[in-house]
């Protein structure tokens, strides 16, 4: 069975600084997707970035980028130039050829002014 582990329950970063959130996963599958979702205090989960396992190139979306290490089963999220609006719970999620995603327990990120 697949598992997703986020080992950092809480993190904080100064505004304009860079922060990296960790995620590891376990699977025996070769084709899958990985996601980072953001859940602000308003509660709605929003997709931040996704990575296809068959792509070697790390995904980037503006200030958000990932470090995908397939062999190590690691999928970290880097947020550059952190903004106050980045304050949220961040969930790492794994998806494969089924209908469901497997989520981690989340990392609560607080950006400090």
């Amino acid at each position: 069975a697949q598992t997703v582990t986020q080992s950092q329950p809480e993190m904080s970063v100064q505004e304009a600084e860079t922060v990296t959130l960790s995620c590891t996963y376990d699977t025996s599958e070769n084709n899958y997707y990985l996601f980072w979702y953001k859940q602000p205090p308003s509660r709605q989960m929003i997709l931040v970035i996704r990575q296809e396992a068959y792509k070697q190139q790390n995904a980037t979306e503006n200030r958000f980028s990932v470090n995908f290490q397939k062999a190590a089963k690691s999928f970290s999220l880097k947020i550059s130039d952190s903004q106050l609006g980045d304050t949220a719970m961040y969930f790492c999620a794994f998806g494969s050829g089924t209908y469901k995603y497997i989520f981690g327990t989340g990392t609560r990120l607080k950006v400090l002014a």
């Binding site: 308003s42 709605q44 929003i46 089924t98 209908y99 469901k100 989520f103 989340g106």
Partner: protein, 117 residues
């Protein structure tokens, strides 16, 4: 931008009561999901629904749970006889296509917080 809408945002109920949580998925989406998040814990898959039937369900989704799409727009989750451990945030999600065509990802609603007393 299209949204998944969930009602109610918060419901308090007595143990043993029936609860219906409602979701309006994005209009051209075909796949629908319920997830739940017990306070402080991970988001857990409950059930997926396509073509008016359940596609997949988790161990959590026992006989006390049911889903339906009664009118082509709403997607509901019913808990027949609530238990204390059903207290959680319930998220609805939808997808236009099966998730891994390479083009689509799940769009989540804001959630419905259920408190069972």
């Amino acid at each position: 931008e299209p949204e998944v809408t969930q009602t109610p945002s918060h419901q308090v109920t007595q143990m043993g009561q029936e609860v219906i949580l409602r979701c309006v998925p994005i209009s051209n989406h075909l796949y629908f999901y319920w997830y739940r998040q017990i306070l402080g814990q991970k988001v857990e898959f409950l059930v997926s629904f396509y073509n008016n039937e359940i596609s997949e369900k988790s161990e959590i989704f026992d006989d006390q749970f049911s889903v339906e799409r009664p009118d082509g727009s709403n997607f509901t989750l019913k808990i027949r006889s609530t238990k204390l451990e059903d207290s959680a945030m319930y998220f609805c999600a939808s997808d236009r296509d099966r998730g891994f065509s390479g083009a689509n990802v799940l769009t989540f609603g804001a959630g419905s917080r259920l408190t069972v007393l």
